[in-house]
Each structure stands twice: as C-alpha cells, then as structure tokens.
Amino acid sequence: MEATATKSPDLTGFSREAVEALSRSRNEPDWVRESRLAAWETYESLPMPTRSDEEWRRTDLRRLKLDRFAPYADLDGTITDLASVASTSEGAFAFGEADQRAGIVVSRDGGAPYVELDPAVAAQGVIFTDLNTAVHEHPDLVQQHFMTRAVPVDFGKFEALHAAMWQGGAFLYVPKGVQVELPFRSFALGETAGASIFTHSLIVIEEGAEAFFVDAFQSETADEASFASAVVELDIADNANLRYVQVQDWGRNVWSFMTERAILGRDAEMKNLQVTLGSKFSKNSVGSHLRGENALAEMLGIFFGDGDQFFDHHTWQLHESPLATSDLEYKGALKEKSRSVYSGLIKVYEGAQRTDAYQQNRNLVLSRTARADTIPNLEIEANDVRCTHGATVSQVEDEHLFYLMARGIPKSEAQKLIVEGFFRPVIDRIPVEEIQDFLQAAIARKVGY
C-alpha cells in the first residue's frame, strides 16, 4: 500500500473545530466552509433520534459512541493508479475492465481519489469526478444540487452531520439528452479503523438523459469500531433514465448510516438495487419521490446477514403525482445471530390518482437465533389507486431440503441452492451479467456452510 493511514492526531468525536479543520485541510472555497458550518449548527440543533421515533423504534443506538471516532482520517498520498488499491477491492466488487465502464472514481478514506472518465463521454458534456474537485470546478451545479432537494441538510440528525463532515464521493452530471450505456463506477474504500468516513454520491440526470451508476462501499474488518455515513442523491429529470446499484460491504467493525433519495420527473424511470452485505450495524433509508406524472421507480433490495449483524431498512415510495408506478421487492436472508428490520411505506398523496404501487418484502431465516421483522405500511389519500403489499418471514422448508437430498445433494449444498433460489427472482431482474455474477458469488460466500 502506498499511502500511510493515520488518525487525525488530536481530534476525536465531532465538533465545530473538526469541521473547520477538515475544511482547512482541503483548501475549500469559503462557500463550502460556510455551508459546512451552517450544517453543523443544524446538527447541533437536532435531537439524537430515540426509540420513541417511529423510524428508530427497533434500532438500538445505545452502543454507538460518536465521540470516540476520529472525525476523519488523514491520508497522505493520492491514489495514482488502480493497481495500488486493487488488493483492497479483492473479493468485493472488482473494478471491472476499463472498456466496460464510462468512468471510475475511487476514494480511500475520503482522501484524494483516483478519477477516470472516458474522453468520448466527457466530450458530450458529462461531468464525472470526485466531489472535492467538483466544488472547485463546478460550484454552481454543486450548490444547486448538493443537499438542497433530494436530501436536504435538515433531513435528520445524521444527514446534517453528513452535510457538515462530508469528505469524498462522486459527482455525476449527465446533460440533457445524453445517453451513456456503460456504468459510472464509484468506490468508497475505508482503511483507517476507528475513523469516520463520509461518502456522498450526487447524481444529476438531465431531461431525456440516461445513465447507469454503480456505487460500492468497502473496507476490511478491523477490531476498532468505525463510522460510515453515506448520502445518495439521485435527481432524475423529466424523461430521464437512471439505473443505480449500490453494494455495501463495509467491514464488521462499521456502524453504517445511509440515506438515499431519488426525485423522479415526468416520465422519468429509475431502476434501483440496494445490496447490503457488510457492516456490524446498518441503517438504510431509501426513498423515491415520484414527483412527475407517469414516473416509474423499480426498487430492489438484497440483504444477507450473518454473525451478529444488524440491518435496518426503511423504504419510501412517495407518490406525489398521478399515473406513477413504483415496484419494490426487498429480499433478505438471515443466518446465525443476525437480525433485520424492514419497514416500508407506500404513500399516495392527494390527487395522485391512478397510482400503481407494489411492495414486497420476503425474509428467509436460516437459524433459530436469527430474526427478521417486517412492517409494511400504506398511507393513501387518493381514491383511484392500486396498491399491493406483501411481507413474509419464513424458513427453509423441510420438503425442499428433502427433495434435493433425495437426489444425492448433501444438506449443506441443498441449503445453498435453496437460498440462492430465494434470491434468484430479484437477481433475474437485473439484466447486467457482471452484477448477476457478483451477487451470486456474494450470496454463495455468505451461505458458506
């Protein structure tokens, strides 16, 4: 490894001082520093969520000690080539071949990233770079979109902290009418145990444009607890089209908080996949605002817990306009002592007639000590709508196991087949071979046995 990683020497916990030190260390323009400080004020003014808040009712934050984390990791050294970070990414989402992507941003501990963009794509006016570069080179666009619409600064306590402390991530801007087929890929790699990593994905797809974005978060497991905060903002204009895939594979020492919101314009289309594999604790909030008529949001999720992992997913299908469709399918498997909570809301606003909303959460519990809770919710203020939801928690069926074993397949392999089969229908919905292969391998690794 070329870079040496050290914790910021004299700071632990989050403070105004930490915000200023971070901003100074990056030579940020004044407006960025000021917006960070304003966000810090918001953070301080908001109460820490407690279990009396509906969204946090099943989430135990008592062991989260925010004051023990270094607010950011000090990294000296830029990532000069992908080979130098390749070992970190091994086994996770590989970087993919250069001719199989439109661009790539790799940042480590929110430090100076590696950035690459296909010149032919750049020539069409597409911007794809890390966010630190973007505030210098595209201040207007960033000011317009960064935590203003999809996830505003005062969205919640952790989002405000993110707005104050954000460190790295990617900015994608696809201008009107430009369609890019190959994926833009962003990797946020964590390296310094005990430190915080704040990664932001800001994606703006203008009218009639089309893009495919693959986000991956990854770190090795370490002893000391780390903190990860991700915010993802997807702004999809009228008639635009975005496929967004996120793979969370943090080490088992990480407390992960992720908030993602998409805003879809008229006739806009989003296909979204959320994959949760890593971390010790993961709080995900994923929502789609179907703001324009006839918008379509496909929201898929795959999570697989083992050991003592805790995953909490909250989803929001927000039908703000008529004639929009949302189609959500989240599937989770839980083994050993892992636990999951899924809570999903379909909300149809007044006037959003002829909404078509579907929500399904299925969980497969693989041990007696694992547990899944699922809470579907509907809130409907229009009268001409079709909303369906379904939620199940089940176990591997003895009859299935017996049938496979009666064909000579040993129990452990039979179990693996059944679990893969459980996820298969979701995997089949993502027509990208590389991602299908990745998911299949990740699931096989998780089943392990």
Binding site: F402, Y403, L404, R407, P410, G421, R424
Partner: protein
C-alpha cells in the same frame, strides 16, 4: 439385493406401515398396487429417507447394507431413486443447476466407489450438458426446460417427465416410481414408459407403485404385490394385476379379511 423386512413406520405417532416385507432382486420389475391410503407413498418415502417418518421396527437392506441410518443424500448416492408422486416446487432453482449438482454428487460417489483406491474419474461440465441434452431428447423434452425453475409452473405431465429425466441422469440401481402414470395422457404415458423400459436393465431393480392396470400394459412387471392397510397382503405374478382389475379392491379386501 433390496430387502425390506417387517418394516413399521409412523408419522406424528400414527402407525402407517405395519410390517412390510418385500424383496427385489437385480433385473426384476415389481408392481405395488393398493387402494388410496394403504401406505404405498409412505413406503416409498421411508425408503428414500423422508425425515417426517419414524421407523419403529424392521430393516431395509440394500446390497447387504442397512440404509435406515443413512441420510437421504447418502441413499441416493448409493443408487436409490424415488420418482415422487407429488414432486416439490422449489422456486428460483433452475433445472439445469439442480440436475448438475445431483448428477455430479451421485456420479462422483459412484466413481469413487468403483475406483476403490484408484483415481475416480469425475464428470466435466461439458460431459454433463451433453448427457442432459441427450436424455431430454429421449423424453421429448424441450431444451427450454433446463432454464426453468424446478417444477415451477410445470403441468402434471411435465413434472412426471422431469422425474424420469432425473432417473435417466442418475442411473439408479434401485428405482421406485410412485404413481408416475397418474395425470399422464396416453402419449405422455407412452413416452414415460418407453423411458423407463429403456432404463431398466439387468443390474437394476424397479418398484412400480400404481393404482391402475394401465401402466402395466406398457411396463411388464415380473411380480405384483398388493398393499392394504400398511402391509403387503398378497403377492404373485403379472396375473394378479388382472385379477385385481377384474375384482376390484373391495372384493379382495374381503377375501383377505376372511383368510386372515
């Protein structure tokens, strides 16, 4: 080769099999007939090792080895095969993937047995695909079958054909076919019977469980047994099936009761 002695088995504390005796030698085809609920499927499931049944008495020897303590996969790897009366649907598991795993496990186990201390020859993926295509053709199955999920959305006839395809690929030495003829139209019945006839050989024992004489017009049994209330109450040659067809189970039941 395959010897069931005084087999008693229960499910949820209800005794279903009440002392079954049945011996099948290599190369023999046996038919097991009997009214609904007499315990035929229970016997088949107990042979295959279904975990819901408890064997309370008796033995099943296969080539001299007691199989009752073995897991279902070990029994299958030894060469025991059950074509289920009601094959299970397993969502998301593709036929091809499932068949490949089944065939690999069973064939590799056999190769290892046969190799003894020597090097066992394992099947390659290419060999498997070729074999699967061949067998599917014999059974008039479309290639798209391989990509479908296990028994999901299969018609009754397709399920039965899929069971016979598995039998063809696994090449068992003891095959039990539980009502494989039910739900088949006459063409499907012919295809399936031809499949079974092509597979049956001098090294293999077959137990055909059936309700009707119909199947026995296509597959000729050497022996016929009649099961009632958890026991084999009568055994004989092929003529017994005709006798049964003529008399019906009720009359036979009365006769059995009278002689008991």
């Amino acid at each position: 080769m395959f010897e069931i002695t005084n087999l008693h088995a229960s499910i949820e504390d209800t005794e279903i099999l009440k002392g079954v005796d049945l011996t099948i030698h290599k190369g023999e085809i046996h038919a097991l007939m009997g009214p609904n609920g007499s315990g035929k499927s229970t016997l088949a499931n107990v042979i295959a090792g279904h975990p819901a049944y408890e064997v309370t008495e008796g033995t099943i020897l296969f080539n001299g080895e007691d199989i009752l303590e073995m897991e279902p996969d070990e029994r299958a790897q030894l060469g025991i095969f059950l074509a289920f009366q009601y094959p299970t649907v397993i969502p998301g598991v593709s036929m091809a993937n499932f068949l490949r795993m089944a065939v690999t496990n069973v064939r590799n186990a056999r190769a290892e047995r046969e190799a003894g201390d020597g090097e066992a020859k394992k099947m390659t993926p290419r060999e498997f695909r070729k074999l699967m295509r061949e067998k599917m053709q014999v059974l008039h199955m479309d290639e798209s079958f391989a990509t479908r999920y296990l028994n999901e959305g299969f018609s009754g006839g397709e399920k039965k054909r899929a069971e016979i395809l598995q039998m063809a690929l696994l090449e068992p030495t003891m095959a039990i076919l539980d009502e494989t003829d039910s739900g088949l139209d006459i063409d499907a019945l012919r295809v399936v019977s031809e499949g079974v006839n092509a597979l049956a050989n001098d090294e293999m024992g077959v137990l055909l469980i059936t309700h009707y004489q119909r199947l026995l017009n296509h597959i000729k049994p050497h022996f016929v047994h009649i099961m009632m209330d958890g026991r084999v109450v009568q055994s004989g040659g092929p003529e017994l099936a005709h006798e049964l067809e003529a008399k019906g189970y009720e009359k036979l039941r009365a006769e059995v009761a009278a002689t008991a």
